[in-house]
Amino acid sequence: MDFLIAPVVVAVIAGVLAAAISIVDKIVNNYGPVNISINGGEKIVTLNGGESLLSSLASQEIFIPSACGGRGSCGAGKCQVTSDVGVHLPTELPYLSKEEIEKNIRLSCQVKVKTDIDIMIPEDLFNVKKFKSTVKSIRDVTHDIKEVIFDLQGEEINFQAGRYVQLVVPPYDKIKGTTQRAYSMSSKPGDKGVIEVLIRLVPGGIATTWVHTRLKEGMEVELIGPFGDFERSETDAAMVCVAGGSGMAPFKSILYDMFEKGETDRDVWYFFGARTTKDVFYMKEIMELDGKWEKFHFIPALSEPEEGSGWTGETGIITDVLDNYLKTKINSEKAREGYLCGSPGMIGACNKVLTANGIHLDKIYYDNFA
């Protein structure tokens, strides 16, 4: 039986050490029940510590925005912590300004709840809900953009036009764990029973690949929302809206909402940029709106229209078209505001053109989903 000694010794030693690790884990990672006091005691939730603030709150049906899904790469999940939770972590610093650091604004996905903690969150977030929806329809609006309509199964969503929802993508293939991604709602606030989004296929994208290859009508999908602060201002300044590709979504919602509510006394310029005639969509619908609404001007522009495609709209890069209109057609004596939705590159370029034409950065609104 001598041959058994060696394996038994190794097994016993490994077993004792494994037990030691589990015991330490139980002691060290057991924070016991902790209280999260929200907005100065307005709401107090009690839960077991050890998780991130973001997921702790989510387990209590309070949803802090996390456009990237809690990876700490979007900086959306900011929240003010008014009790002491230690110094800012290196993973938080890139997303916080000096003023925010002084006010102890933290990224909720990076802060672990270890002791009782006091936080301040905007009242709006109490309105955020998790919806169990079914896919009502999926439609290809271009070769790489799908319009997806989710039915909320009798529940209702109340939101301002321009807000976004987070789509919860279940694990598939090699993607372990659920993923969340933010998409602007293109449905009108008036249609409370459904949520419509536009999703462009991003090569290699976890969520967009899933939507384009796996999502089928009738499937059950979770949505969390509404989030964001993108909305039309309550002024009478002319709105200069610029969208690229699936950036159409929030404007579709805002424009139809304005038209439906009779806010047609405001100048609205809507620039829509795409590459070829294959990439444009909703042309007929928006043109129709343009016809019915005197102060609304729709300017679709293609950067590379195909020969003989019969394209009659503007030609050129969207920023050049925008610059030209700002200089020659849009009255610069009246107040103007910029509204942007598209890729980070497009937003950066449009910011430059708008500021060069005298629209201050404070008056330019956009969401950042990176």
């Binding site: 000694i5 060696a6 010794v9 190794v10 030693i13 490994a14 050490l17 494994a18 030691a20 690790i21 330490v24 884990d25 060290v28 990672n29 230690g86 110094v87 972590l89 290196p90 993973t91 672990k112 270890k114």
Partner: protein, 197 residues
């Protein structure tokens, strides 16, 4: 046969003349990659010292009371590694609880201490050289301090090197290795004063 060594001599020898890094060149990879920043160097130096001392003690006990009596010396590599891995795991959890900032700054290098050759090296030296328990503790602690001293010294030199006109081809690891070579020569310069086996 336990060697006749004064623990004080052994302590100084393991820090300076037989520095685990500069005389034996063990534990190089984290030494080179972390030494760019003084704060992380200090954190890692502390972590290595603690892990080294703890694991050497545990390993000595297992060696003397399990492996040698049962004639299982050939299992020493696997046993030493298991003990080191478990200690690092426990330490990682404790640091995460006690100091999240240190935990974040050590990052991937804390779990990598598991495969830091200096730690296995010290365990094997203590076995080959037949150290007593006191000698093992002193030797391990001294080796940890020596590793800490070396990485902090290199971090300080690297700070100066940033501004130095290093030829393009030698920038980065090249000049770092040359610097380590000079440091090793300087440390070995002490070897006439003390020496241990």
């Amino acid at each position: 046969m336990v060697p006749d060594l004064n623990p004080v001599v052994l302590l100084f020898a393991s820090i300076f003349t037989s520095n685990i890094l500069l005389a034996n060149f063990l534990g190089m990879c984290s030494f080179i990659s972390i030494s760019k920043d003084m704060k992380s160097s200090n954190g890692l130096g502390l972590a290595v010292t603690v892990v080294l001392t703890l694991t050497a003690m545990l390993n000595w006990v297992l060696l003397q009371y399990v492996l040698i009596p049962l004639d299982l010396l050939y299992l020493r590599y696997i046993i030493f590694i298991i003990v080191i891995a478990a200690t690092v795991q426990i330490l990682e959890m404790v640091i995460d609880r006690v100091s999240p900032a240190l935990y974040m700054s050590l990052g991937i290098f804390l779990p990598l201490i598991t495969v830091n050759c200096a730690i296995l090296g010290v365990a094997l030296f203590m076995q080959i050289r037949n150290y007593s328990f006191i000698q093992t503790v002193v030797f391990a602690f001294g080796s940890g301090l020596g590793w800490w001293l070396a990485i902090v010294t290199l971090a300080a030199i690297q700070k100066k090197l940033v501004k130095a006109p290093v030829p393009a081809g030698l920038k980065g690891p090249g000049i770092t290795l040359i610097t380590i070579g000079f440091m090793a020569m300087a440390f070995i310069g002490f070897s006439g004063m003390l020496s241990v086996q």
